[in-house]
Amino acid sequence: MDITAIPCRQKQVAVLKDLFGKPHQHTVPSLFIYGHTSTGKTLVVNTLLRTLKLPHAVVNCVECYNQRFLFEHILNTISGNSETITDTDNVIKCDNMNDFIRLLRQIVGEQGLDSQTLYIVFDKAERLRDMESNILPAFLRLQELSALNVCVLLVSEIVWEKYRFGSGFCEPLVIHFPDYSKEELVQIICQDCPPEYPEGFYNMYVNLVLSIFHYACRNLKELRHLVSLNFKKYIQPVSTGEASLNDTKKLWKNIEPHLKKALHTLYLREVSSSQWERYQYDLETTDSVALQGLSHRSHVELPFYSKYLLIAAYLASYNPAKSDRKFFAKHSGKGNKKTQQIKKSERTSNHMLGPKPFPLDRLMAIFYSIVDGRVAPTANIFMQITSLVSLHFLGHAVGEDQIEQPKYKCLVSLEFIKAVARTVNFDVLRYLYDFV
């Protein structure tokens, strides 16, 4: 891609071009570029370096997760043998910063790059913070340490203040890539307008999609993906002949519920894009198709007693212990009045604060009171509790004795427990403190 073809980033490109200057000139020791996801940071930097034909090495800090990979990647890229690693003997090995600087100088001398500025780009630079503490300060000081004409660029989504630690270091020049405005988003997405439709028509469609999604999402990649996936549905009335290209209202009526559905399913990755495409195709051919999302499939098969154990755990987690008598004791009428006296507003719902830990005894007591018939406390029952833990339906509360007095937390959602209770014909809501 040509640097002039990048839309809406002229100002940033100009600033970067100015800072880079001519190849033989020195430039800023380090640059920090930040901005939201998909605001063209990596694109602009990479394209600029490529079109100006400057010697550079681009490092993705997620890929190079330790310093050894980082150093070797940079050195091998600069020495120019990254594409042709057929001979493993030629690969440069380096495992500390000291050797890195020494080898860098050597390679720059060998490659004859000392008359030009060398650029090292760290993409996803926030990962550099998790590495050894000398990495980030040393790279910010690379020009001084190596006495070479190098410029280090850090590209990140996180603001610069969150990088500072310890006794500080050389501050880089910070450049912000602002977010795209709505008009700019439309302009950029309209670039991939299919040639058989007029631009104004596509522009209208993109505006419709944005009117649904722009409130929740400003990510260009995501929006572009949504736009391209739903276009087929949008032009369907046109292709069947029900509407013409100018029938904006009809097209809008057709697409709106579809897009709203996409917000709940496609945008959340409940259904994959291929599933969505298949679904759209099925809609054209047959009338009613059901779309099965990920969360619909979260139904699991559990043994009978495990279900009751899970329900008991849920009740123990979300009910206060002092309400147990009211719910589970056989004859209790006294407590009812007291609870009614507590004003509804004073109680903070347990469903807001999350599950509370409970001891095993309480779990077993509730279990016996809700399950019908006699259940012997066999090893089997206790095994099922531990297997619920290993399925991550229950969690161990920390810092408790494991055998003597184990404490657990219930880690499933209300929807899930309702579904489980329905299978055993048990009404959970009647027993939940927050809902009576």
Partner: protein, 441 residues
Amino acid sequence: MGKSRKSRGVSESSNSVEKDEVVMSLIETTLRERLGQCSLPPEICGFEKERRELLDLIKRTVTSGESNSVLVIGPRGSGKSMLIKSVLKELLQITEIKDNLLQVHLNGLLQTDDKIALKEITRQLHLENTVGDKVFGSFAETLQFLLQALKSGSQSSKPILFVLEEFDLFAFHRNQTLLYNLFDISQSAQTPICVLGITCRLDVIELLEKRVKSRFSHRQLHMFNSLKFDEYQHLFTVLLSLQEDFPDQKVATNWNKHIKELSEDKSVVDILQRQYEYSKDVRSLQQLMMYPVCRLGEENQQLKAAHFQESLKLLTTDSKASMLHGVSILELCLIISMKHLGDIYDGEPFNFEMVYKEYQKFAQRRSSMQVFDKAVVLKAFEHLIALELVRPMDSSGGTKVQKEYRLMSLLIHPSQILTALQKYPNCPTEISQWASCALAV
């Protein structure tokens, strides 16, 4: 430069245009180099006493064979390394010293442990020949060899200057072996060595072990930025002026005249004043000048006050506010909910459920608002966590508790939210109203 442009108009020869360009790019190159990290400034402002002391100390090590140790302490960007470089430059002009003095430069960022540091010392002293392949021997062996080489010398042998940058990081090495041995040699009358430590930590002495501390001479040089504003202004002129060695003297005088005028320009003085109040260190001044210098070019042959203004704006933008400018409206609503939760519960941590309830209360009251699903809101919330505008209280993610119930804290100050709201593009009025009235639920 104005004059030369005029003369170009008169002569109209392509030769002079070309020459003009060459001179211009030469000016650019010189200035850029000066503002980078690896060059010495043409003139040092202040620090005469410290400079004299350092010069004296190193000279004594070289000429009379006495061993010294000194710590140079000063904040970041105050010119510690620069001072040492310039002292060394001056000393090396004396041939007697140049022939005699051996230098070892170490940096705490590069030599992260003593083993690497030892290898580096042998390398810089060119002892590899003598050690042969032993450079890669064990730590103890190399140390023993080095110590022998150093200790076998007497006061008449060649003096060595050790410069330890980021000295505080060396104090975190195991047992502080390197520091102990260096100071030990400097105390006992063996090979004359001078240990120069450079650090920005004032409490660096406290980091040293007792045995190391007792061998250190406790000579400290403090370098604090005591620049007055007029000195700061002078520094500005010095850094941007061209030197006598510039090939085209006529251009240089014109340029310097222009810089002189610029430094008295009211708006530039104003910018300098603001930067001075923010921080007195020279490096931040250099950073301020970098952008205007980079803007120099064919169509822009002089430094302009407007570019300095732009540069100051570049340096002082509130990054969090500019990140807030780019969040979606849903995310903005969540941030405002979190702000309200902070107001109501007095800064207690919150979880997603509470934020969602707060958001729902608002969104349902306003019929015009689109009310989003919990899952969509959760996605927005997780985006905020990824941007590190919201931080989980405990770092242990995963199985301990569901993500809806993880305790979070907001990392944005309420006033930042309010200012960001004013700049937010097409912000619905109801949202800004909701943000400003905290307790009207």
